[in-house]
Symmetry: C2
Subunit: 365 residues, 2 copies
């Protein structure tokens, strides 16, 4: 039997917690007999769900916590009032090395805020990012940042490229991951100044990645690269725009296949093929965003998921827990540090100069 | 017969021009007997295609131009070298009121650059935007800016809301269009400072629109609002991410429906329903972005479209040409002008203060 992996689980996070959490543990434990789940939350509420799954108790450990953070909690409020919450206690178990990763389907904002405070940012990383794994025509692509930061500078985007490369190398098993920088298409407005500076830096960086340069929005689903780098504002909106479109097509497909008795019969005959399509597009299969850039592994599951989706988030955490990309990332961060700092300073100086009237302008006649 | 509408057509713009351009004119002229097409381009190349369509000559007028702008021309180069090009001469015909709108499938950057110079920005508008019409679960939604501007300030986003509202009112026939401001979802990072300031302004503006506040990426395809307001960087990437996803689903659907003989038979029986789906998702049906905020109507067709797609762009131009939202927009721009200017100044001052070391800091011991 392979080495045991301990996963801290916020049993109270998620719309239908703790039921779906325990369902997820049951599914994941079959696939990973070496996984042990540390369940943080209200013991009285967890126990009945634990009892529903035969044999699950053997791989679980309940850690009673008196509080839980509501799904709609504001991050600042969660930090202040949630010290004894299932989420905070689960994160702490990673900090004190009792668990190798933590999974929660609770509020994203609260999870990020508490993780930042308890785990701290990885040395050399400016800010953690949310990395989303996205299904594409050619497999899976990592997109980051998916919404942790809305104002992004050069240093952050370069960090994201390094964090994404490390993840794709270790988790997606890509020898030399391809990395693209998200940009607009039309020639006259090719990128804002931050994006241009990051492009120049990554080209010259000699990092252990295949940097392909700019990519456009439609390259995400086409699977053009392993890692898509962008700021959290654009990344969040692009991913949700894609999700919305997939839902729209599914909606139209359903109405097309029920539009006539003949269409219904056809759909019945094609049901095997359609099932494959449905499985491929099932958002539960790639459920789980990862917070990268912290001293500890944090996996965020969708709040509205079910047991199958929660199991996917647990599987991801178990995969990650077995790996260590810390030293890989440290070397890369060190390699570009001086250049990134210089580029950030230059851009900030240029902006201040543009916006501040020069003092000498006033005295010149 | 209703009043004649004159449309200037850049006959040389597009991957397969002038063939697809004339195909488009033929299709559109049947739907709009009152349309007249002013074809700008190489007469020797246009004439044979004109001859292919019986009766088309009666509603067309060839205006020979010696030059054409290449599809991959840089905007600055197109402006300098394209003075006698089909694109520039077609735009000029709108400026001198010979035509009421111009359609081109040429380079977006060149078309925007030349349009800005020849037509000038509409009084009170900071910068023109590209407005894209997007299919949704509930009909059509206007998204702007789709890529004309990458660095966006408060004034521009408020302008986009006003321009979009006018368009939805006049072209999409919405009595009081709903308008949403694109933002990220997670609570802790709700929007950058520009987005927050625009939200406050639109809430307090009393403009003739139903401003619903923030919307997220998945609300675009859901058809949550008539008009989606965002900056050109985010807008371009969100629209392309959505396009890419639709293509990916279509790709998987095709492989699902050919995965077995039974699936193939089912697809054959359901072909009527699947045809409806295909038509609904056909990008040619909503082909045509509109440049809003200029003294003249400019419609951009996709470069790689065919006759059917080009006809959709012509139809849109004809619809627009019959309308006049100039005065509508002028009133709205005037209404918010002072507030917008004040908000922009305040934000810029705050940024400069944050980035410039205060002189007194140096002398304080």
């Amino acid at each position: 039997m392979s080495q045991l992996v301990h996963i801290a689980v916020d049993a109270m996070g998620g719309d239908d917690a703790p039921g779906i959490v325990l369902d997820g543990c049951a599914i994941s434990s079959v696939r990973h007999p070496n996984a042990r789940f540390l369940l943080f939350g209200d013991a009285a509420k967890i126990q009945p769900h634990l009892n529903r799954h035969k044999g699950l108790e053997k791989v679980c450990e309940i850690h009673h916590t008196p509080d839980a953070i509501p799904m709609d909690a504001k991050p600042a409020q969660a930090v202040r009032q949630g010290r004894k919450s299932s989420m905070a206690m689960a994160i702490t178990s990673v900090k004190v090395k009792r668990a190798q990763a933590i999974v929660s389907a609770g509020s994203t904002g609260a999870l990020m805020a508490i993780s930042k405070i308890r785990l701290r940012t990885f040395p050399g990383v400016a800010r953690p990012a949310i990395a989303a794994i996205f299904p594409t025509q050619r497999g899976e692509t990592l997109v980051l940042d998916a919404g942790a930061n809305v104002d992004t500078d050069i240093k952050q985007l370069v960090d994201f490229a390094i964090l994404g490369e490390g993840f794709a190398h270790v988790v997606l098993n890509r020898e030399r991951p391809t990395v693209g920088l998200l940009n607009v298409g039309s020639e006259d407005v090719k990128g804002n100044e931050v994006v241009k500076a990051v492009d120049a830096l990554l080209r010259a960086s000699e990092l252990p990645m295949e940097y392909v340069g700019y990519i456009e929005g439609d390259d995400i689903a086409a699977g053009a690269v392993d890692v898509v780098v962008t700021d959290g504002f654009t990344g969040n909106i692009a991913l949700k725009a894609a999700e919305g479109t997939a839902k729209m097509v599914a909606h139209y497909l359903r109405s097309a296949l029920t539009s006539s008795p003949l269409a219904k019969l056809g759909a019945l005959l094609a049901s095997g093929g359609l099932k494959i399509l449905k499985e491929r597009m099932d958002p539960r299969k790639s459920n789980g965003g990862v917070f990268l850039g912290l001293n500890g592994l944090v996996v965020k599951s969708h709040g509205g998921t079910d047991g199958l989706g929660y199991a996917a988030a647990l599987d991801l955490a178990i995969d990650l827990a077995g790996s260590d990309f810390g030293s890989h990332i440290t070397a890369a961060l060190e390699k570009v540090k001086d250049k990134v700092d210089a580029a950030d300073e230059a851009l900030k100086a240029a902006k201040v100069e543009k916006k501040t009237p020069k003092p000498e302008d006033k005295v010149t006649p």
